[in-house]
Every structure is written in C-alpha cells, then in structure tokens.
C-alpha cells in the first residue's frame, strides 16, 4: 500500500462554496483559500443572477418599473416598492392621503415579520435544526394569506401606487390581522423557548463571527448587522419617513457584535413590528386611499432625488436623476445586503468554515437583491 501522505504545513487549497450551495440560499459563490478547516482568504464572486434593474429603470416609465422593485428581494418586497413610491412622491410632489400612509406602514411591517420568520427558519436550518423552519413557515403562511387577500400576490407585491394604494383594506382583513397578532406573540415565545436557549445553537453563535461597529462603518453595513454591533441606527427612527414618527416602538440594539446579537436583534424586531401593526390598526383613519389630484403622467422636475427606507435587511436607497421626462435619466438602487455582504471577505478571515457559514446566515442574504 502507499506510504503516509506528507502535507506541508504551509500548504493551502482552494474551496468553492457555491454558486449552487444550500448554505448560500441562492446563486452566490465564495472562493475560499483554506488551511485545513480554517479560511485564509475569501473572495466573494457575484453576478450570477444580475438582471440590470438599473438599466430597466432608465428605459421604462416610472410606473412600469414599479414591479421590478419587488423582484429585488422576494422575502421583503413591500419595503422596496415603498422606497420607489416615496422617491417619486418626493420628486413629483405628490400628496398621500393619511389612510394610505397607515396601510402602507401596516403592510411593510407585516412583510418585515414574514421576512424575519423565514430568515429565522432558514438560519436555524443552516445550523442543523430543521423543525423550527416548519413552525416559522406555518406562521408566515398566515401573514402571506392576509397580504394576498388585499394585494393580490404572495411575494412579489405591486400594491403601492404613486400617491396611494391599489386596493383598500376591508373589515375582514382588519379582523384577521388582529387575530394573527396574539398567535404570532405566542409563536415568538415558542421560538425563544425552542431555539434561543438551546446549548448547541448558542455554542455555534456566541462570540463567533465578530463584526465591529467600526467595520460596519467602513463597509456601510446597516440594518440588523449594524444594530447587532451596538449601533443605534434605523432609518425609521433616524430619518423618519411616511408616518413612522407617529408610532411608539423601540429599536433593539445589542452590543456583543457576534452572530447571536444579530439573531437577537431580528427576533426582537418582530415584536416591535407587531406593536406598530397594533397601533396602525387602532389609529387607522377613514378616508380615501388615492389623492384627488394626481398627475396622469409622472414627470418629476429636473433634479436629483434620494430616498432611503428601512427594509427587513437594512437601509435601502433609491437615487433618481430626472431630466424632466417620463423616464429616469439615472436610476440607482442602493441595496443593503450588497454592503452587508461586502464585509464578509474581511470578517471571515481566520475563521473555521462552519463558523463562517453561520455568520453568513446571520447576515440574512437575499442574492437577487445583491446582484440586482
């Protein structure tokens, strides 16, 4: 038989994670240089699902490009279309009726919970626990049913219009939403008891995958990644848009900078979203959902406009450079996971591969949103 294999201590090998890999939840590829189980250097390779939404934004009219926005992030699509309508309303000075604003917030927060629920399930599945995914998907299904009845779609919503909404909510929706809130509260307690205290789960996350506040700043990370690093930053609070300033809610912040902190931020955020939904239902004013006066053709005056919103994944921004015509001269999408993912290469250096994959899960990646 052959003799013992001699491996030089300085020898490394290249490992491709992806583009088809269950841990990346999409077509993302990370080229890793490995020293045994340890990552020496990582390089993320993007572009496998790049669709050039920015060019489509230039050669379509503003209303035509609205459905594109929900194809960016299939888990939290409502927030992305919200950014687009807000940007156009800012640019073309369109007034929005109060009822429409409240329903928008209601829908965005419902969508945030459904997105976080799915992330929770998928994240725990990445770490080897399959059951929580089933619970999470069942709860998420209730939210999707609610939203489907009003918006007409389950994931890729095109519910908002410039100046208002496509469809008003009815009493059935309001009653059903009120019924779902206690159910979700009960579930959140269940998840906490089932997962958060689990010793295997904690050992995989506690103190692992450090992303410091300074690193967040240098890479422009936002959302739960920044809030897990002790940064009290949420666009809903720091730069209030829509009617968020009228709601009473907290921004969960954790200072541990590890994967568990990012997990805790999202779990607490669901409770805060439920609080917003309750208040929105209580305060929901009567009235129209579309403004009386609305331009037939959307032609924002010449200029440069920026709108940021807080989506489930972080700060999403749209820049519209208008030349006064019905198409945008430049349509820039600033996606949160793009910045959040860009720090992965540096952050995972020297980590063990399974810890790095756990950290990747805690970033809450949605690949079509990175590649746009």
């Amino acid at each position: 038989m052959s003799g013992p294999i001699h491996i030089r201590s300085d020898e490394t090998f290249t490992l491709n994670v992806g583009p088809q890999h269950p841990a990346t939840h999409g077509v993302l590829r990370v080229k890793m240089e490995m020293d045994g189980e340890y990552i020496v250097k990582a390089e993320t390779v993007l572009g496998y699902i790049h669709r050039m939404h920015e060019l489509m934004g230039e050669n379509r009219t503003y209303p035509q490009v609205l459905p594109n926005l929900s194809r960016l992030d299939y888990l939290g699509a409502m927030g992305y279309t919200h950014a687009h309508v807000l940007a156009i309303e800012r640019a073309a000075s369109i007034e929005v009726p109060e009822r429409a604003e409240y329903i928008r917030v209601l829908m965005v927060e419902l969508n945030r919970i459904s997105s976080h629920l799915f992330w929770f399930g998928a994240f725990v599945m990445d770490l080897g626990g399959f059951t929580p995914l089933m619970y999470a998907i069942e709860d998420r299904e209730h939210i999707l049913d609610l939203m489907e009845a009003v918006t007409g779609s389950r994931l890729t919503y095109c519910y908002f219009r410039f100046g208002g909404l496509y469809n008003d909510v009815d009493d059935d929706f309001i009653n059903a939403t009120r019924a779902v809130i206690p159910r979700l509260r009960k579930s959140l307690k269940k998840y906490d008891a089932l997962v958060t205290g689990n010793i295997i789960f904690r050992k995989r996350l506690e103190g692992i995958g450090p992303i410091s506040a300074e690193m967040c700043r240098k890479y422009g990370a936002t959302g739960p990644v920044a809030r897990g690093a002790g940064l009290d930053f949420d666009v809903r609070k720091n730069e209030p848009y829509s009617v968020y300033s009228e709601f009473d809610f907290d921004i969960p912040v954790y200072h541990e900078c590890d994967s568990l902190a990012r997990y805790n931020v999202r779990m607490d955020e669901m409770e805060q979203s439920l609080r917003i939904i309750e208040q929105a239902l209580d305060k929901l004013p009567e009235g129209p959902i579309m403004p009386k006066k609305k331009p037939k053709l959307i032609k924002p005056p010449k200029g440069d406009y920026y709108q940021a919103v807080e989506t489930a994944r972080g700060s999403f921004g749209i820049r519209i450079v208008s030349d006064g015509t019905k198409n945008a001269y430049r349509f820039k999408l600033r996606s949160p996971t793009y910045s959040n993912m860009s720090l992965f290469d540096e952050a995972c250096e020297g980590m063990m591969i399974m810890d790095a994959l756990a950290m990747m899960g805690s970033l809450d990646l949605v690949i079509p949103e990175i590649d746009r």
Binding site: L46, G47, H50, M52, E54, L55, E58, A87, R90, A213, C216, R217, K218, Y219, G220, A221, T222, A226, L231, D232, F233, K237, N238, E239, P301, K302, G303, D304, Y305, Y306, Q307, A308, S315, G317, R319, V321, Y329, R330, K332, R334, Y338, S339, S342, L343, E346, D371, R372
Partner: protein, 183 residues
Amino acid sequence: MIKDTIKQAFLDLLPDPEPIIEEPVVEAAANDTAEDGKKKKAVKKEEPPRVNGVLECDHAAHGYDIDVQLEPGELLAAVMILDKNDFFLESITGVDWIKEKQLESVYDFSRYDFDQCRVVIRTRTPRDNPNIPTISKIYPGANWHERETHDFFGIKFEGHPHLIPLLLPEDADFHPLLKDFKP
C-alpha cells in the same frame, strides 16, 4: 450640528469658497405670457453644467443635506473629512452626462446618528478618459461599489486593488449604463 461643521470643512477645502444658493426652479413664468414662457424654456436648455462648489439642500425635497461637487484631485481630502466625522459609505455610482461629454461619479455618505446629515459628493471626469482616484484605501467598502461603477460606466478608479468585473461576466468589455450603449 454636524451639518454646519461639515459644510464649513468643505468650504475651507475648496479653492473657491463661494456657496451657491439654490434657485427655486418652478417659480417665475407663472404670470408671464406664453411667449415669455417659451423663451425661458429655450434659455433653460442651454443651461451650463454645474460648477464646483458646496450646495446646501432641503432634505424634504431632495433627500440629502449637503451636495458637493469637486475636482477628482480634491476627492480624497473631502472623503477624509467625512471619515474623521464618523460617516459611513452608503453607495457609489455614476451618471453619464453624454451631452457634456463627462462622466460623473456620485458618492453617498450618511451617519449612524440622530444628528442626521446626508452628504453627496460628485466629481466629473472627461468621458474619453475617465480617471478618478479610488477611496477604497479610506473606506474598504468602496471596493465593491467602485468595481460596480467600473462595470457599468467604465470609470477607472486609479489605485484600486482589484478592478475586475463584479456583477457583469468576467470577460465583459461593455459598459451598459453609458447612454450610447447598444445591446
């Protein structure tokens, strides 16, 4: 207020410290006759490109507070000011001003703070030889954004450590967001 600090720092940096007051564009022409309106429109079309300088913007109307246009040579000094004041890099992108034969690179900065201040830095470079220094040495996060801008516009970021296609295929030799791009 961070806004005033930053504005002053930029005014000190730029050679021509003349702040430009933003003119309300929509006014006028309301009481004028149709003929006058037409004339005004004709004048507007020949509007010269924006000159360098610091512009304070209305956040409600534009979504940002300070808008700076400067020469590529002044970029690094300006970004260092923002770095010192704890700004984070939101994004980098480009705009193709084909009529003026220029490419513009746009940098968005914001802060993790309740003292909100969004800063936009713009710098223009000739379209036939677009060169802008990289800021990835100051903000490592600029690495991907600059690669993306290079993909879409062909702007060369001098000193960038790894300027290869990021979102486009690795052998891509086209720049799809240029206005004269034909697929």
